[in-house]
Each structure stands twice: as C-alpha cells, then as structure tokens.
C-alpha cells in the first residue's frame, strides 16, 4: 500500500501532499521536512530507494523517489509494493502530467494544484493503484475537462488573465521539467 505521495521542490517547498493514512496536520508537515531532509542530501546517481524516516514508520516502509529538475516525487510504500513497479508508477504519473499540461513545469503544479490532485486520483485511490494505462488516465482527465468547460459559462471569462499572471514571475523557474536521460518525449504508442 502507498502510505503517502509527496511532491516538493529542491528547497523543500511542498507542491502536493497526499496522505492515505491519517496524520495530524502538523505531523504531516514534520514528515515532509524529515523526508525532504533524507532525500535531498542524496546524490543524483545513487539508488532510488531508502528506508522510511522514523516519523512515517521506519524500516517497515520504503521511500521510493525520483528527482526531476526542480521537483522531487516521493512515494512512501510498505513492503507489499514492488520497488521498481513504484518507480514506473511515478514515471507514469509524471508522463501523464506532462501530457495533460503540455510540458509540465513546477508552475503548473503550483497554479493548478487542484488539477494535479484530480490527475493523481485517476492513478491512485486510497493508497492503491487504480489505473496504470496512461491513455485511459488522460481520457478521464479530458472528460472532466469537457464537463468543466460546459459548466464554465460566465466564470470562464476572467480566466484569460491567469496565463498573464503566471508569466509575470517566471524568472528563476525553468520552464520545463528537464527529465534528463529519462526523456519524457511520450513514447509513440502504437496505434492499435
């Protein structure tokens, strides 16, 4: 079972927090700090697994993480999950985000926190994996989107301003998550 999913940036600022087991709010923040501390001090070419911090259950749990440019994606899982499987799952999640946002970057996660949650919900539910087929997930998100549009009406009008606002404070932020050798060019899925 997946106990929690965290996304934070290189400075430890959380961008997504999802716990599938109840922890009080301040505990959640402490856990994030601890995990950030554990993960951020590791070199980029060491392995992607480590034992969980003491706050989240110690050596019975594993942290499986990936580091993409400015963001860490960390899954905390128990021993019933395959390490490499979770690593693939993170990749599926990120590729899906990339498809949904077109070249996803940290700012997308900040300004569309709710959307990121919705996308994640299509992949993981109550700590268990719901779907791993990227096309299915994207199709679900598109469906939601169509419903949103049809309901949008008046309230969609001021939306244009958002992108303007977004572009105002870009300087330090690389536009795209550089996925390095993991090249996020979505695999050309065979047409059948």
């Amino acid at each position: 079972m997946i106990k929690s999913i965290l996304i934070f940036n290189n400075h430890g600022k959380p961008r997504l927090i999802r716990f599938y087991q109840y922890f009080a709010e301040d505990m959640q923040q402490q856990i994030i700090r601890e995990i950030f501390h554990l993960v951020s001090k590791r070199d980029d070419n060491v392995c992607n697994f480590l034992e969980g911090g003491s706050l989240i259950g110690g050596s019975d749990y594993k942290l499986i993480y990936r580091h993409y440019a400015t963001l860490y994606f960390v899954f905390c899982v128990d021993s019933s999950e395959s390490e490499l499987g979770i690593l693939d799952l993170i990749q599926v999640f990120v590729e899906t985000l990339d498809k949904c946002f077109e070249n996803v970057c940290e700012l997308d996660l900040i300004f569309h926190m709710d959307k990121v949650h919705y996308i994640l919900q299509e992949v993981v539910m109550g700590g268990m994996v719901l779907e791993t087929n990227m096309n299915d997930i994207v199709a679900q998100v598109e469906l939601q989107n169509r419903m949103e549009k049809s309901e949008g009406g008046l309230s969609a009008a001021p939306a244009r301003a958002v992108s303007a606002v977004k572009n105002m404070n870009l300087p330090e932020m690389p536009r795209n998550i550089n996925i390095g050798d993991i090249n996020i060019k979505v695999p050309s899925l065979s047409p059948f």
């Binding site: 599938y20 034992e51 390490e83 700590g127 779907e131």
Partner: protein, 983 residues
C-alpha cells in the same frame, strides 16, 4: 491540445498564489495568508449567500494555504455544501477538500455520508466514482457501517461501468482494511475472484489488490484465485509486446499487473494441480529467459519494467523454495545484478539474495558471491546499498566463512555510517557467538568490537561476553590475559573497563603467576581507570576489588586503603558510599572462610536465548530476523555449552531455553526482577548476619543498581537470581511468599492519580495495570484492569489489598478474588468497593503475585485512594469564602507550603488539576486574579470536613504558596502534602 485547460482557472485564486509567491519574507507570507483567511472567514460567515463558484474558489484557496503548512480549521461545512451541488467541478473540489482535510472521526461524517449516498444512487458514473474515491480516502468506521454492504453490490453488478468497478474494488479494499468485521463475505466473494478474468485490464488491476488482501486473511475461501491468476499471468507473459495495447509499457506487457499477480501467488503454497503448476513453472522460466534477451529499448523504463517482473518472479521462487533448478537460476540472475551498473538493481539484488540465503537449496550458491558482496560493502557510494550488503553478509554467514565475514564487518565498522553502527555491532556479536568454534576467537572479536565501536556496544553485548566466559572454563585464562592486555591501552572504552573489571575480579588469579600481571599490577591497572569512569562502572570496580581481596589476600591492605579514603567512604553517591563501607567492613570482619564463601566464583549462567538476538529483533522489528535464526541460535547455544555434542544435552538446553523466562533477557538477571521481589531468602542469611554485625552501616540495598554483588546481598525471589541458582538452593528453598515491600516508585505512581481517576497505574515488561474509578459521597468504586503483556500464561495470579498502620479503621475496601489464570495477551478486571470511614493519610497497598514461567513475581503498589477523592465541591461567593476562611484561623487548622514549580505554570493545566482534585474552583473570589481558590467538603462516614484552598503562583520565581484550611487539622496536613506534589 493539453488535456488540462490552463486558462479556465479561478482568477482570484491565481492572484492570491502570485501574491504569496511575490512575498519576500516568511513574515510577509504569513501576513498575506492571515489576511486571506480573514477574508474567507468573513465571506463564509457573511449574510450574503455565496454562489457555487465563490465557494469553490475559497475552498481551493484553503487547500493551497493548507499545502503551505498552515492549519485549516474552518471551511469544512462549505465543502460539505459543495458536495450536493449539481455542478461537477463544485462537487469535485468539495470531495477533494474532504479527502485531504477531513479525518475519519470528524463530526461531519454523517453529512458527508448523506451526500455520498445520493451520489452512489445517482447512476451517474462520474459522480459515483467521486463518492467512491471519497470513501476510499477517508475510510472511517462510520462510512464502513453505512456502505459496507452497498459497495460489493456495485462491484459485482452486471451493469456497472468498468471505471466504477475499478473504484468500487479499491473502495471495498479500504473498508475491509479499516473495519474487516463490517465487510461480510457472501455471495459476492466468488464473483470477485472471477474479476481476475475480466476483459478490462484496469478492472483486473484494481481487483487484484482487493483479492490479494482478502486471500491473506481468508486463504481457503479464495483458493480458486490461484489457478485464475496463473492463467492470467501465463497469457500476459506469453503475449507479444504489442498484444496488450495501452497496457504495454515501454515494450513490456502489463508489468504492473504481472507484479501483482506474482505477489498474489506468494500468498499461497505451490499449486497442487500438476497442470497449473506446470504452467506456472513455464511462466517463471519464460520470465527468467527474457532477462537474458537483448533489451527491446535502451530506455531505463524498459529495463525497470522488465526487472520489476523478474524480481517478483524470483520472490515467488524463493517463497516456494521447492524447485532447486529455478532457485539456482534465480541466484545466478541476482549474481549478475550484483555487478550491474544500475544502483537500483544492485540494491534489489542484495535484498533478494538475503532471503535466498536462508533456503537450503541455494545457500551454497549464494555463498559464491561473497567477494562481490564484501566489495560492495567497501566500495558502494550509497549507504542504503552498503546496508543491504551488510545484511546479506549476515544472512550468508555460516561456519565456513564466519571468520572472514566477521573480520570484514569489523574492519567496515571503523568507517561505517553512524546510523548503522549499532546494528552492525549487534550482528558481529551474534555471528561471533553463533559460529565460535574456539572461544579465544570469540573473546578477541568482542574485545575488538568494544575497541573499535565502544560507544555502540550496548549492555547486552558485554553482558553476553561475560556470561560466556563464566560458563566456559577453557577460555577464562585467555580472557583474563586478553582483557589485561587491552586495558594497557592508555585510552580504553568504559565498556572495556567493565568487562576487564568483571573478568579480572573473577579470574585474575589465572594470570597472577606471571610477574607482569601480578595481583598488585592488575589492581593498579584497574584502579588507574577508576576515576575516569561513570558511577555504575565504579560500583562494578568496587565489587571487583572486594573479589580481589578474596583472590589475593596480599592485596587486602592496599585495597582497604583505597576503600577507606574519603573519596570512597564518603562519596556523595549513595551506592558507591554504601559499597565502599560494606566492603571495607566485610573485608575486616569476615573470616577468610566466610569471605571465600561470600565471594565465591560466579556460578554458570542458565542458558537462554541470546539477549543480543532479542535486541536485534526488537531493533529490526518482528519478521526481519527469521525463525530459523532463532532456532539456529538455540542449537548453537547448545553447542556452546555442550562442547559440540548434540543429543540429550541439546534437548535439555532447548527446554531450559523454553522454561527460563527472560522477560528482559537481561544477561545478569539484574534489574529485570530485582525490584519486584527483593525479599531475602534463607540463602542470604549468612550475609545478613555479617551485615548486622557491621552495625548501622548496613542499610537496605539500593534497588536500582547495576552491580553484580547486590545479588549476593539480597538474592531475589525469582529464578534469575544468581546466588539462589548457584548454591543449588533454588529447588529446596521455596521463594518467599511474603508480599514484597511497596515499589520505590509507588508514591510517585500514587501522586499521578491525585487529580485524575483513570489511567495506567503501573506497567513493566510483563504486566500492565489500568485503573478506572468513580466516587460519590463517601463511597467509591474502582475498576482495576490487569493486562498480561506477554504471550505466556500467568499462573496463581492473586491480588491482596492491605491496610498499613491505622488505615484498617479508616477505610474499608471490599473485593472479590480474581481468576488465578491470566492468559497471554489477556486482561482481567477486578472491582473494588471503597468506603471512607474517617479521614486518612496512608494509601492502601495492593499486592500482586503470580507465576510467570516458573518465577514468582511479587510486587506491591499503593492504591491511588486519597482523601481528596471524597470531595464534594461547594460553590460560594467571595464574601462567604473569606468569612469561613477567617473562622478557620486556628494555627493547627492551617497547613501551608511554599515550593518550587515542578511542572509548567500554564493556567489551563493548573485549572484542570484543581478541578480534578474534586473541590469547586471558585472564580472572582480572590482579589488577585492570578490566585486560585477552591472550596469543598470531604465526606466520610462519620463526619464532614470543610476545606478551603488557596494557591498563589509566582511565575517570576517559579514558586507556589499553597495554603489549606480545614475544619480538621489532619486533613489540612494531608491535602497539603498531596497537592504540593502536583504542581
């Protein structure tokens, strides 16, 4: 086109986020957030009804603020309102807020449940999915009660859409995990198993998690899943890389599902049906073969997915542990990975090999990789990988390679990461003991361990080396020589001094023939370390000195000199002073014969499970040290003492292992049982005499000491006592049945309950005693809950209430005897009816006796019945209060204490305590608002005693002045004593 329309957000939200991002400092950010929270709060509270869009926007802002790490304590109601909106986006954000922010015991659950119920029956698949998601994420018991019967119907209904089925499966899983009693097996169970055959792979993916969990709990009911899983797996494994369309991930067909199928199969033994088994073996072989094929893609995702399946297949092969051919192939495959350039694969290979090492078919094959693993320990850059390498070395160790592995681990210890040193030390100690053929090697190894990593050597480790040296006479001389040499080092670790002190004290005579280690040299060497050591070590050294006096009479004068000096005999530490005084007297009064008897060599220790192993297990959590480890250690333990012969000896050893309860597994048997039953048994009478002659310098022994001689002074009533066993009296002299004196901490425990009625009164490794009590007028009822924390039955469990001093006439406690047997893990209850006859000061004593294993446990506590329990609160005005205060002006009616605050001076805590006291806490009475005044009447059968209390805190000085005036002076005094401990 991006699937998320980036433009359609909420403008207010975007502006707010930008503002936060533009904040230059943390303070500015907090200020901006507080402003926003105030704004949202006012909007939510305002008279104007908010439209759905605004609610959605504000709820979304709250979520963002929560993400930044701020507590959100409102908005829940608005989120719940959004659930009943007809608009999808509003409903969606409402559910999101609830999933993220509502915990399972929120009061809102009933409202949420209503909304969920509506959505579940809406027949709108999107709404149904949202509702199911919410149940799965919150998963509270109330939700389980409401929906546990509904969800299985949705899951197996023929007309349910695939996406809803997926969600329903995981939703049911969550409910089953949180409230298994509410999810009833039924007609749906067999149909769930058949979801493994479902055409939609997404449904299979979700269902398999559910089935795996159900199978673990009810393996028989779900047995049919094995053949279904095998055939599904076989179809996936043999499919071409493109057959499964969207479920092909980087050219690997359905890797996630394959892993899950292989995991499911690990819940069961190998299939009995030959055809099924054949098919499965074929699958496993195909998977192993594929690993050797050239990759279809250079992408890391491709190899990850492929290897994920491979590792699960290997786990299954190890789990079956029945196919030698497959096991060896698996081992070879892992061997390849050990040298792979991907760190992840090296890590996983080391981890899998650890489990493989315990299989008898592959143990030898694993051992061939020893050099690679040692190399990994030395050269891996990643501490996680090094740790796995150390684990594997531990797992693959056997008699043939123990020396090499222990040496490597020792040398690694010098540079090991601090985080894993303690565990490494334990492992080295265990291996050294387990595979010791010659004990000089064992002694060398442990002493090296102390030298290299002394700070990480826990007590269990040095206890153990002493235990083994004492039990093996062939190694005693060597041990004495080696510690003597080790102590020569100018700086040696305190643990070394402890071992040295103990061993030289026992066996120094074995090396005394050599003039280089003559008695006086030995003594001077030990004493040169004395002043640098901590109190427990010094205490141990003093005991070693008195043993020296017995071993080497020629050192008597020198040692007496040392004992007599002021720094010993007047030491400010009670324990040290006591030892110095007693040993000095002992050495001057007792005859050589008496000395020789008292200070005889330690008898061999009873064999028991290595305390180190227990510690490692505790450290690593259950399950990580396998049962075979334990059995091994027993077997090896038998060898340790039986000199290699097995047979009846081993059996005896094993049974002694089983029958010797070692609750603390504490090697020397000190501390664990010592405080429990410290009644002198007949064997100790000799000593008692000696000490009584010694006059006033023989106070009762301190209870919490660490030294070994205290066991001589007061043989404990349990089997753990050294002397009782050593002198062979354990059988003939029955342990004392008298109630033990109250525990030293009894008063402290009592004080915890002055201001509260419920809680845990006492707890040790065996027993927990909980209390619930209620009082009315002069009567009270107390429920005692005795919990057996072990897995072993307590026999002859009896409890007795006694009344010290005059209490007999002051208090009446009635109770029924309890059941004499308390099963492991069980709890029994006892009810006490209490009547207060007149005011009292002492507390009744509760004595508890039972047998754990063979050993009598005997402890006495004070029952937390205090006079204030019979308080009736009295409300009165300021005028009345001071009038009565003046009336109670005789000096003996008042008791006053000025004392330092022991706890924080928080107002709320103080108030809570005063309320817990039982009297009324009066507001607006004292002219100084900082002060507290209380009034009440204590009800006894004979009379009523009016009590007034005034507590004046001085927060600057951290002091209190407490004044009590009662119509009876003894009550003032007692209440004052009790309360002064509370603040």
């Amino acid at each position: 086109m991006p699937a998320v329309s980036k433009g359609d957000g909420m403008r207010g939200l975007a502006v707010f986020i930008s503002d936060i991002r533009n904040c230059k400092s943390k303070e500015a950010e907090i200020k901006r957030i507080n402003k926003e929270l105030a704004n949202i709060r006012s909007k939510f509270k305002g008279d104007k009804a908010l439209d759905g869009y605004s609610k959605k926007k504000y709820v979304c802002k709250l979520l963002f603020i929560f993400l930044l790490g701020h507590d959100i304590d409102f908005g829940h109601m608005e989120a719940v309102n959004l659930l009943s909106s007809n608009k999808y986006t509003e409903k969606q954000i409402g559910y999101l807020f609830i999933s993220v922010l509502v915990n399972s015991n929120s009061e809102l659950i009933r409202l949420i449940n209503n909304a969920i119920k509506n959505d579940l029956s809406s027949r709108n698949p999107t709404f149904m999915c949202l509702a199911l998601h919410c149940i799965a994420n919150v998963g509270s018991r109330e939700m389980a009660e409401a929906f546990a019967s509904e969800i299985p119907r949705i899951l197996v209904a023929g007309d349910t859409m695939d996406s809803v089925k997926q969600s329903a499966a995981l939703c049911l899983l969550r409910l089953y995990k949180t409230s298994p009693d509410l999810v009833l097996m039924g007609e749906w169970t067999s149909r769930v198993v058949h979801l493994l055959n479902d055409q939609h792979m997404g449904v299979v993916t979700a269902a398999i998690s559910l089935i795996t969990c159900l199978s673990q709990k009810n393996p028989d009911e779900f047995k049919t899943c094995v053949s279904l899983a095998v055939s599904r797996l076989s179809r996936i494994v043999s499919s071409a890389s493109t057959d499964l369309q969207d479920y092909t991930y980087y050219f690997v067909p359905a890797p996630w599902l394959s892993c899950k199928l292989l995991r499911l199969l690990q819940c069961y033994p190998p299939p009995e049906d030959g055809a099924v088994k054949g098919r499965l073996v074929e699958c496993l072989e195909t998977i192993l073969n594929k690993a050797q094929e050239p990759p279809k893609s250079k992408k890391v995702q491709h190899s990850n997915a492929k290897n994920a399946i491979l590792f699960e297949a290997i786990s299954l092969i190890i789990h079956y542990d029945s196919e030698p051919n497959l096991l060896v192939r698996a081992c070879n495959q892992l061997g390849q990975f050990l040298q792979h350039r991907e760190t992840n694969l090296r890590y996983l290979a080391l981890e899998s090999m650890c489990t493989l090492a315990s299989s008898e078919f592959s143990h030898e094959a694993v051992k061939t990789h020893i050099e690679t693993v040692i190399n990994a320990l030395k050269t891996e850059r990643d501490v996680s990988v090094r740790q796995r390498a150390a684990d594997l070395l531990y797992a693959m160790c056997d008699r043939s390679n123990a020396k090499q592995i222990v040496a490597e681990m020792l040398s690694y210890l010098e540079t090991a990461d601090y985080s894993i040193r303690e565990e490494m030390v334990l492992k080295v100690a265990i291996l050294a003991e387990k595979y010791a053929v010659d004990y000089s090697w064992y002694v060398d190894t442990i002493l090296n361990l102390i030298r290299i990593a002394g700070d990480y050597v826990s007590e269990e480790v040095w206890y153990r080396v002493i235990q083994i040296v004492i039990n093996r006479d062939d190694v005693q001389g060597y041990a004495a020589k080696t510690v003597f040499e080790a102590l020569q080092a100018p700086a040696c670790h305190e643990n070394m001094v402890k071992v040295g002190g103990y061993i030289l004290g026992e066996f120094g005579n074995l090396i005394a023939g050599d003039p280089r280690s003559s008695p006086l040299v030995q003594f001077n060497l030990l004493h040169s370390k004395f002043h640098l050591c901590s109190v427990p070590t010094r205490a141990l050294l003093l005991s070693a000195y008195i043993k020296f006096i017995n071993l080497f009479p020629e050192t008597k004068a020198t040692i007496q000199e040392v004992l007599r000096c002021d720094s010993q005999i007047r030491n400010s530490d009670v324990e040290l002073q006591q030892r110095a005084v007693e040993y000095l007297k002992l050495s001057s009064i007792a005859s050589t014969d008496v000395l020789a008897t008292v200070l005889e060599e330690m008898p061999p220790f009873p064999e028991r499970e290595s305390s180190i192993l227990a510690k490692l297990k505790k450290k690593k959590g259950p399950g990580t040290v396998s049962v075979t480890d334990l059995e091994d250690s027993k077997r090896e333990g038998g060898e340790l003492n039986g000199g290699g012969e097995r047979g009846p000896d081993t059996a005896a050893m094993a049974s002694s292992n089983a029958s010797t309860p070692s609750p603390s597994a504490d090697l020397l048997g000190i501390r664990s049982a010592a405080p429990v039953g410290a009644a002198p048994a007949s064997a100790g009478s000799l000593l008692v005499d000696v000490f009584s002659e010694a006059g006033p310098a023989a106070p009762s022994a301190a209870v919490n000491d660490d030294g070994f001689l205290r066991d001589l002074e007061q043989p404990t009533a349990t089997c753990d006592s050294l002397l009782v066993e050593g002198s062979g009296d354990s059988d003939s002299a029955p342990p004392s049945e008298d109630p033990a004196p109250p525990l030293p901490e009894a008063d402290e425990l009592l004080n915890k309950f002055v201001c509260k009625n419920n809680g845990v009164l006492f707890e040790n490794q065996l027993l927990q005693i909980g209390i619930k009590s209620e009082y009315r007028q002069n009567l009270g009822r107390m429920y005692l809950f005795y919990g057996n924390k072990t897995s072993v039955q307590f026999a002859s469990f009896t409890t007795t209430v006694s009344y010290p001093g005059e209490l007999q006439s002051q208090l009446n406690v009635q109770t029924k005897p309890v059941e004499p047997l308390v099963e492991g893990g069980a709890q029994i209850q006892q009810v006490l009816n209490i009547e207060c006859l007149t005011d009292f000061s002492d507390a009744p004593l509760l004595n508890i006796k039972f047998r754990y294993g063979g050993a009598l446990q005997n402890l006495t506590l004070k029952l937390p019945v205090t006079i204030n329990k019979f308080f009736q609160p009295t409300e009165m005005t300021s005028h009345d209060f001071f009038q009565r205060w003046k009336q109670l002006s005789q000096p003996q009616q008042e008791a006053q204490k000025i004392f330092k605050a022991n706890h924080g001076m928080d107002t709320e805590v103080l108030k809570a305590k005063l309320l817990g006291l039982g009297s009324a806490l009066l507001d607006d009475v004292d002219p100084n608002p900082e002060n507290y005044v209380c009034a009440g009447v204590i009800q006894t059968k004979g009379q009523q005693v009016g009590c007034l209390l005034r507590l004046e805190p001085n927060s600057q000085a951290q002091m209190y002045r407490l004044t009590l005036r009662c119509s009876k002076d003894s009550v003032s005094k007692r209440l004052c004593e009790l309360l002064a401990e509370q603040f």
